[in-house]
Symmetry: C2
DNA sequence: CAATAACATCTAACATGTTACACACCAACT
DNA sequence: AGTTGGTGTGTAACATGTTAGATGTTATTG
């Protein structure tokens, strides 16, 4: 009857309520990005619900969110599938990624403290070790951590989440291109260029490297499409 | 029993299935951005469902999506509210907007045909007329249409949707700042600068204008916060 | 009288039942 | 044989019932 005063009264800060749908979302997202679930594969909500011991509702909610993110394709009254790879969408995601990241780097370069840069370098150090050991999993974990660090260093609330979401397509593609083992070295070189650029306060330099890197990735994607066309759409 | 072959068989192109949740989403989003629903206001799912003649399910789905978009705040087991204005989040949204838009403009400038530019100018023409008539509604409609045109001209699939989503916060703020009637003229000037920059293939020029514009908007937001603090969070 | 604990109330989260529709399959017809 | 139309099946979309928890209020206790 009496409406509660609009939220001024309660916790202003976002409560990190981990609901079931959040958990399901996290699990499925991880499975998709890590390619445990392959592009094109059917997702059976009911089965997922049973396996996770929840009802269909939180599963549907999680999948809706993943559909927004472009990680699953929902065909009404027909089925839900792990999103296939669409070259044009990947291109767009690359574009958005570069746009956001160069802007973030520009901003970070202006305000990075020595401690921040030290943290970057520490991350790079560990990346190098992971690359030496050919530890893909560890490498990509550090890779994402570095991107998060850069976003955080830009000092913009919520930027990390936005960037992470827009990157999800690309994160997935990267995992699929893992076996092209030269990638890690190249990626590492790119990261070093980015960090140098920040240290030197010359972000334009980093952008150049990124562009070249992406062109390279495009080529490998075409190669992958020849080998495994079933992963691709269109 | 037999799983249908994973989607290779059916329509590859996105089916524009307008489900109820899509409709509810569109209606609510429009209401929020146009400030028919004020920041901080309570949203009663059940009431909305009754008013629209649907069940609670599509309403919940739509609201979840709006929460992802940052247009509503959901407090579990407590209530759902039209998102209040958070200056730091608006700052982030501005950052993302500028990053995406300058990148898009840069790309568009490289590939814009005379026809595309003519379409831009036609839009500007109509904006000027709307500004003369003080027709806010029409003006902002054209404004959004121009941004869409620029995104489309960049030739990247899905970029328009991404940009539009990330802009929603800002679109809402703009409407709230409508009464500062000088805005339309300023916005129009900004748009003219952008289009000139594209025509001259000098996107750097447009970025400068945008920055100034945003600084101006920040000042007005602080003013609004003094006058109507209930619209703001934090 | 202040602090606190029990309670009532309202809501989102969750569970489950129902419906409508897209697609596949097969039969009939040209 | 290729095309068309009817039918069955499985799924997402939708409806509705139930549960858990957050908050405001009131009672209780020191």
């Amino acid at each position: 009857m009496q409406l509660r005063s609009p939220s001024r009264n309660f916790k202003e800060q976002k409560i990190v309520s981990v609901t079931r749908k959040d958990q399901v979302y996290t699990i499925l997202r991880q499975a998709i990005i890590s390619s445990q679930l392959s592009p094109g594969e059917t997702i059976r909500k009911e089965l997922v619900a049973a396996q996770l011991g929840v009802s269909r509702t939180p599963v549907s909610d999680a999948i809706n969110r993943l559909a927004d993110e472009g990680l699953v394709e929902i065909y009404p009254q027909t089925g839900t599938f792990v999103a296939r790879l669409w070259l044009d969408k990947i291109e767009t995601a690359q574009f958005v990624r570069v746009a956001l990241e160069t802007a973030a780097i520009r901003r970070t370069a202006e305000r990075a403290t020595p401690e921040t840069i030290a943290r970057f370098r520490q991350n790079l150090e560990r990346q190098r070790k992971a690359a030496d050991k050919q530890d893909f999993e560890q490498f990509y974990e550090l890779d994402e951590a570095l991107h998060d660090l850069i976003c955080d260093a830009a000092g913009l609330v919520g930027l990390r989440e936005i960037a992470s979401k827009e990157r999800s397509q690309i994160d997935r593609v990267r995992r699929l291109l893992l076996h092209y083992e030269t990638r890690m070295i190249e990626t590492l070189a790119e990261h070093e260029a980015i960090i140098s650029a920040i240290a030197d306060r010359d972000p334009g330099k980093a952008a150049k490297t990124m562009e070249a890197h992406i062109a390279q990735m495009g080529k490998m994607l075409l190669h992958l499409r020849d080998k495994r066309p079933e992963l691709f759409g269109s």
